[in-house]
Subunit: 201 residues, 2 copies
Amino acid sequence: MAGLLFVISGPSAAGKGTICKRVLAETDLELSVSATTRKPRPGEEHGREYYFLTEEEFVALIENNGFVEHVENFGCRYGTLVSDVQERMARGKDVILEIDVQGGYLVREKFPDCILIFLIPPTPEELERRIRNRGTEDEESIQNRLQTARREVKCIKDYDYLVINDDLDVAVEDTKAVIRAERCRVAEDKCSSIEQIFKES
Amino acid sequence: MAGLLFVISGPSAAGKGTICKRVLAETDLELSVSATTRKPRPGEEHGREYYFLTEEEFVALIENNGFVEHVENFGCRYGTLVSDVQERMARGKDVILEIDVQGGYLVREKFPDCILIFLIPPTPEELERRIRNRGTEDEESIQNRLQTARREVKCIKDYDYLVINDDLDVAVEDTKAVIRAERCRVAEDKCSSIEQIFKES
């Protein structure tokens, strides 16, 4: 049976990365490996940390609809490969993706059966505290992130699940429950396989 | 926010009762109290074990569409009260119902948002072993139950979740994951409440 695709999304500083790491450590989900045009650092391996591509290869993939989404950061390109996600799911592996709120819509376009999880701190005050605690942003950028978050909350209705990241352990358990439950969800292939087993003899 | 309604269904001897008891002991779900026309036994209390009704009261409720479903057993009537389920959900409590496979459809009719969980042993051989282990049935009745189960499997497609009851502990954890996940499911009331909290100031 084909694997499932779980998408962890939410505003900046919602805790997407932390939740993803914990879920990957505590389940058998696989993280999709992204492609990038940046040079490999010592110890990095093609296909493990990233698929390292030339600018030409990357652009060709964009033109061939090969990315779920892609961004440019400090002159280097990064993108989630449709092929990498597909290949893992075809092997029956469940895949997890961490992506920003708008990216969730792009994933659903390419993978209509994906499971979209929206992660959010309990209050805007807590979100602000977390952004400030990073200590990496100036006031304008903090205010921008907060305004963006307030807008992004309106996208929750298009997501499947809402996980409130107040206590991290609770949020991890909620996310793992969503994964476990979705594995029990009735799907056509599962129905026919159990019908086959119970076929009237 | 209104509570959720979980329905545990599946063929006879699938383990519905055992799973329900475990879930009730390990979560804060409430079991709906049924109505019956049988006389209370010593120690039984109206509204706790059952709502004890007269034949006339019971029939009046049938006529007023007051039951999710009702059956007759050894001359006594038993039924799941719509009002009891509604009242618990209105108090924000999540409710669990144990019901046979056809009953699942009746629950969905009255409560379209209910969550239907189909419970089944891994194989028909295992189901047969469990029916025989009860030691309460003659051969004809065993064969009847097995034939019914083989038919009921075709209803899985109309259910939301399929829990394979091979190892009981695993099946209980699967069921609890479904409950936990459904509590995270995006619903209209949840969206507006979080939108309100994050409203642009």
